[in-house]
């Protein structure tokens, strides 16, 4: 558990650096450090599927973020916070932490699921689906409906991005502005 706590501290420090840094490129790199730390956390907890996915998504997101950061000059972020906004932040943080402290008291111990459904998947997953990777047998067989919804969300997001950022409509709009 010690290495897990060290990694969590590392990720928290990286997140704080990413927020407080005024250089955008350094912020993006600090966010990347947080993501790769999360990848190692997944590996230590015995979730290689999640670790692989986290790693490749992190690389993709970092490339896009770095390109977007280097591509154009972004205006200075707002500095000089007032005292009362600090006070509001601290009060909000304390309230959330206290609430989550009492909420986590009632949760089952780490690694012991509260529902018995997972036990069925672990025991019968191999015979009923024939897949040796239990995670795949859950997301593509027992819970495939969830995966269909997730795929639909991604599809809608990509179609929306392609539609909003298409070039044809933009050209027409700028010509109308000139006319």
């Amino acid at each position: 558990m010690l290495e897990l706590n060290l990694l969590l501290i590392f990720m928290a420090v990286g997140a704080i650096i990413a927020v407080e840094n005024h250089n955008l490129l350094s912020s993006v790199i600090a966010v990347g450090a947080v993501g790769f730390g999360l990848c190692i956390v997944f590996l230590l907890l015995g979730a290689p599927d999640l670790a692989i996915t986290q790693l490749v998504v992190e690389i993709l997101a970092l490339i896009i973020l770095i390109r977007a950061t280097l591509a154009k000059s972004v205006p200075e972020t707002y500095r000089g916070r007032e005292l009362h906004s600090y006070v509001i932040t601290v009060v909000f943080l304390v309230a959330v932490l206290a609430a989550s402290f009492f909420a986590f008291q009632s949760l089952p111990k780490f690694g012991y699921p509260i529902m018995s459904v997972a036990q069925t998947y672990i025991e019968e997953g191999l015979q009923r689906t024939g897949a040796t990777n239990l995670v795949t047998s859950v997301i593509l067989d027992f819970r495939a409906y969830d995966t269909l919804g997730e795929a639909t969300v991604l599809f809608t997001a990509i179609v929306g991005a392609i539609t909003v950022l298409r070039l044809k409509g933009r050209k027409k709009l700028s010509e109308e502005d000139k006319a």
């Binding site: 998504v57 993709l60 990777n133 495939a144 409906y145 599809f155 990509i158």
Partner: protein, 147 residues
């Protein structure tokens, strides 16, 4: 004007790109045996094309896989996943694994799961590559308009 990065990057990219592509295919095709699956493998395949864009420039990458082809492949993947889901009606209900299960541990096992992995690979990989192409085209246009 010289497009893309230096000759060193281009040569290394030419060597590495096939190996990364094979690794992505391995992650997808062995998704039901070892850790991985359609989502992670699809992103690796998208990263292969993004690496090509970064090293050789957008025009040369679009000769390999253009934006319209990428978004067509994405729609094909989504339809294929739906078809896999509807194939369950052959045996009774939505998403029923109708194909024979086979021996656990072999590539041709687990019924419909490898097919779903392939569909998700097509959808995620080509979709993310299309978004990347659209984003960089858009940023170039914005920069030109600002000048």
């Amino acid at each position: 004007m010289r497009v893309g990065m230096s000759p060193i990057v281009k040569t290394v990219t030419r060597v590495a790109i096939g190996i990364i592509f094979l690794y992505g295919l391995y992650i997808v095709l062995h998704g039901h045996i070892t850790p991985g699956g359609g989502f992670a493998g699809g992103i690796i395949l998208a990263l292969v094309y993004i690496l090509y864009v970064l090293a050789f420039g957008k025009e040369e990458a679009e000769e390999r896989l253009s934006k319209s082809w990428a978004s067509a492949l994405e729609s094909l993947g989504a339809l294929m996943f739906l078809a896999v889901a509807l194939a369950g009606f052959a045996g009774g209900y939505f998403f029923l694994n109708v194909l024979p299960k086979g021996n656990p541990g072999e590539i041709l096992s687990a019924g419909l799961i490898p097919l779903s992995n392939l569909a998700i690979m097509l959808k995620v990989g080509s979709g993310l590559f299309a978004v990347f192409l659209v984003l960089i085209t858009f940023s170039v246009v914005i920069r030109k308009e600002e000048e």
